[in-house]
Homo-oligomer: 194 residues x 2
DNA sequence: TCAACTACATAACACCTGTTGTGAGGTAAA
DNA sequence: TTTACCTCACAACAGGTGTTATGTAGTTGA
């Protein structure tokens, strides 16, 4: 219990250093300094640096999945689908941090198949969740019958990922309200036109 | 002249190392080894490592812009807009490489404001180009009058970026044909429904 | 009380990094 | 030939890196 919390502390300190200094400057010593202790703590709770990195990355994907599942609490409907999709958008500071760490890890995974595989796993889970949502909506006749849930799940995931990315790098990006409107409008396009 | 070509050689070697080994393992020595020479060459043509990194990143954005402008050769129309957008998608090996290097640099830019500013500049250029395309199409009455070119430019950029990203990390991503269809369909949605 | 264990500090290790300086060979102009 | 310059090799440097071993309080349990 205490061990799990301490690992979580180290992971959160790593997040802060990543966002502030960049992933390649996130050394064991920098994390320890951020946490206000020595490297002894870090090495005590993580075997490797890779162990730590993988744990921190896992925490990112868990945070995303958790946000999605909490959005799934409301009753089935197109609004719920939109709510699920909105959890990916950097609409507040916390989700912005998550996105930054996620992007840092994604760039770090280029040329590292084992890390990219971790990204693949999490992205696959997200895709599956969205696709199930689409299939349920289609079965309940909330969506057009001629749309392909697999294609639309990928498209929606791409859309929200892309919007998040642009808001990260671009100055003249969409405002939070516009981001929501764009997603809402795309989902509306999947509904019965009648 | 020869100097410019040599700098280009070094930059291309850096690209290869980045895609194969990851950006943080792309050291001066690794680049030199990839190029088949010693670090003397690298240090002779680049003052710093940062100098090299910035040049390589600039080459990436230049490659993207160049692809876009060559797509703009054809006459104005919705097909041209789609062609411009398709230059971002990783539809062949070269564009896939560009995307990988771009993502690596983007992750590297987290926590590095000066590098993120470079991304902002290039993304701003791309956005402006797409927006001008949209405005021209709207003026020629090829697109609906009620759409906002600024919003749609951002959305389209987000869409193609997101699709590229997903095809990079996800196993069950959209096929190249599906990627094109999704973009085509979205652009069709901007046309007059009449 | 004694033993075992957890949680951390500290220090040392070998390794790799970017950077710099020196020098050699080749070429081209004076 | 001499001079200057471009291109590159090579060696050395200080500093940072992950990792490991050792030590030391504090706690827990018998």
């Amino acid at each position: 219990m205490a061990q799990r919390d301490r690992r979580h502390d180290v992971s959160e300190a790593a997040w802060r250093v990543i966002v502030r200094e960049g992933l390649d400057r996130t050394s064991m010593r920098a994390i320890a300094h951020e946490l206000g202790c020595t490297t002894g703590v870090v090495t005590h709770y993580f075997r490797d640096k890779q162990d730590l990195i993988l744990f921190a990355l896992h925490q990112v994907t868990q945070a995303l999945l958790q946000g999605m599942q909490s959005a799934q609490q409301q009753p089935l409907g197109c609004d719920r689908l939109v709510a699920v999709l909105l959890t990916f958008l950097p609409l507040d500071a916390e989700r912005q941090n998550i996105l930054q760490v996620w992007v840092a890890f994604l760039g770090y995974a280029i040329g590292r198949p084992e890390l990219m595989a971790e990204h693949q796993r999490s992205a696959g889970e997200l895709r599956a969740l969205i696709m199930e949502e689409l299939q349920a909506l289609q079965a309940a006749q909330h969506l057009r019958a001629d749309i392909d849930p697999a294609v639309e799940a990928n498209t929606l995931l791409a859309l929200v990922n892309g919007i998040g990315l642009d808001s990260l790098i671009q100055a003249q990006c969409l405002s939070p309200v516009q981001q929501q409107q764009v997603v809402q409008r795309y989902v509306d396009g999947l509904r019965h036109s009648a």
